[in-house]
Amino acid sequence: MHRQKENIIKSLFFLNGLLVVIALLGIFLLLLFNALPTFKDVKFSEFIFRANWNPSAYLESSYGILSQVVSTLMVTIGSLIIAVPLGIGTAAYLSDVASPRVREIAKPIVEILAGIPSVVIGFLGIVLVGPLIAKATGNYSGLNALNGSVLLAVMSLPTIVSLSEDALGSVPKSYTEASLALGGNPWQTLIRVKIPAASSGILAATMLGMGRAIGETMTVLMATGNAPAMPKSFLEPVRTMTATIAIELGEVPYYTTHFHSLFAIGLVLFIFTFILNLVSDIILHRYEKRMRV
């Protein structure tokens, strides 16, 4: 009797576990089904390789997302240029320089940073970073790719810091001791032994940070100016994939090509982040295996 009951309970929990697989698959399939009708009207190659995005043009609408992809990559890479050195530096400080007491205080500070809602960061992009950039460069409003990069850097910092710190922390003690015993000072040990040993963990952290930056919506929507054209420099306004969805989904009539094309952009985003997650997963898995030996 009780065995039947146990089996039923176990099956229920199993179904519950299966739910996440179904959810992920469901997201993918729903995006796909809603995206596919786009390509009845738009050629796939045009969608990917054309820079011009103008779905509501009077005469001939065009659906090219290239400029958005470039914009997304621009702000993302810009954010990484800022966040990766800063993040690794902070992680190294926390793991190698800070005293335990300082670490106790500093770690929550990084966590608090992670807790600030993205819309608040975006707001600060408008009221704080924008004017600063405008003043420094003579740019009109300061709402441009640079602004977005700075904000995204702030947003991906906590991820990069905490994962890099984990990676540095899991470098076996024997490595560092060997380096110190050979006469290396702590700095040399950090630069030549610990960081290289932790490099794949740090790389995985960077890719996760990148995934978050690519998918971030509100900050870029608010702070990058949203001009749907091919950007030429960091001081020009850009419009990312996420921002396009956020701006246009509210106004578009449902089940038109325009509506479906927004799902197609969502699908591209999904695939981007999926690949980044998968790759960072593989890197991390290999890294953990290696560190265990």
């Binding site: 729903l30 608090i112 807790g115 809602p117 975006g122 998918g215 919506t217 956020a246 989904l249």
Partner: protein, 289 residues
């Protein structure tokens, strides 16, 4: 051997460590700037009236009460959808799941779900809840969307908490002839729940600040009344901040309101975080006795 403070090796180290301190300093500075700006400019507008009345005169005056209530409602809904399912999934993974391909697939799905961009959750919410389930844009659709988005966080936090319960509790009760579920229910869950709750609250704090998933699933620009049922639209703090800072017709005039909204939002998120910490402390104390 003499210690030379001026050797190149030593200078490198001094310089290098100062660079690391500088990095930490920048991170702290960012936080200070963020908080200083929002507190100094937002504090002035906070009043009892601001917190308890609705916007007036085309949202150029009045308070943000409906947005606070809306955020509260949608967060409660998110909790209802996300927490039981998240805990159940964590229990399966930590207590029952064999080491199989399927289990690895489940774990991979969780990691990928947590990497899906929030705007994509918004699209999914529109396609599934608003359209396919025909719920329309409403509280329920937003709550479901946010619930799904927070699911991977709830699972991870709950599993963490389950892992911290010693194996000996499980073995001890199984050796006494407890069935597996009895062992989990009476001898694992009571000790894991505090950790589960804290982790979950941290996730919900993040959900409360999310904008993109509710943008098209139920959040409203302006509503003169509070939502009365699950099928009503609602105002929400993050969305209100977005509107007040980018979409309003008199942006500069309403900037103080935007600052006030940002302040309330940040304080709300940190109160949730704080309550998680306090709860953890309290429950730990209770279970130790």
């Amino acid at each position: 051997m003499k210690y030379s403070p001026f050797s190149i090796k030593h200078l490198q180290q001094t310089f290098g460590f100062h660079f690391l301190r500088f990095c930490m300093g920048v991170v702290i500075l960012i936080l200070i700037v963020v908080f200083h700006d929002i507190f100094s400019k937002g504090f002035g507008i906070i009043s009892w009236e601001f917190l308890t009345t609705a916007p007036r005169k085309g949202m150029t005056e009045g308070g943000i009460y409906p947005a606070i209530v809306g955020t509260f409602y949608v967060t409660v809904l998110t909790t209802i959808f996300s927490v039981p399912l998240g805990m159940g999934c964590a229990i399966y993974l930590n207590e029952y799941a064999p080491d199989s391909k399927l289990t690895r697939l489940i774990r991979m799905s969780i990691r990928n779900l947590s990497g899906v961009p929030s705007i994509v959750y918004g699209l999914f919410g529109v396609a599934l809840f608003v359209e396919l389930f025909n719920l329309g844009t409403c509280l329920l659709a937003s709550g479901l969307t946010l619930g799904l988005m927070t699911l991977p966080w709830t699972i991870t936090a709950s599993e963490e908490a389950l892992k911290s319960v010693p194996r000996s509790y499980r073995e001890g009760s199984l050796a006494l002839g407890a069935t597996q579920w009895q062992s989990i229910r009476t001898n694992v869950l009571p000790y894991a729940v505090p950790g589960m709750l804290t982790g979950t609250i941290l996730g919900l704090a993040r959900a409360a600040g999310e904008t993109a998933p509710i943008l098209f699933t139920g959040a409203a620009f302006y509503l003169p009344f509070l939502p009365e049922s699950l099928s009503d639209q609602f105002m929400a703090l993050p969305y209100h901040l977005y509107i007040m800072s980018t979409q309003h017709h008199a942006i500069m005039q309403v900037r103080p309101i935007a600052y006030g909204t940002a302040l309330v939002l940040i304080v709300l998120v940190f109160l949730l975080n704080l309550s998680a910490v306090v709860l953890r402390y309290q429950l730990r104390k209770r279970y130790r006795e």
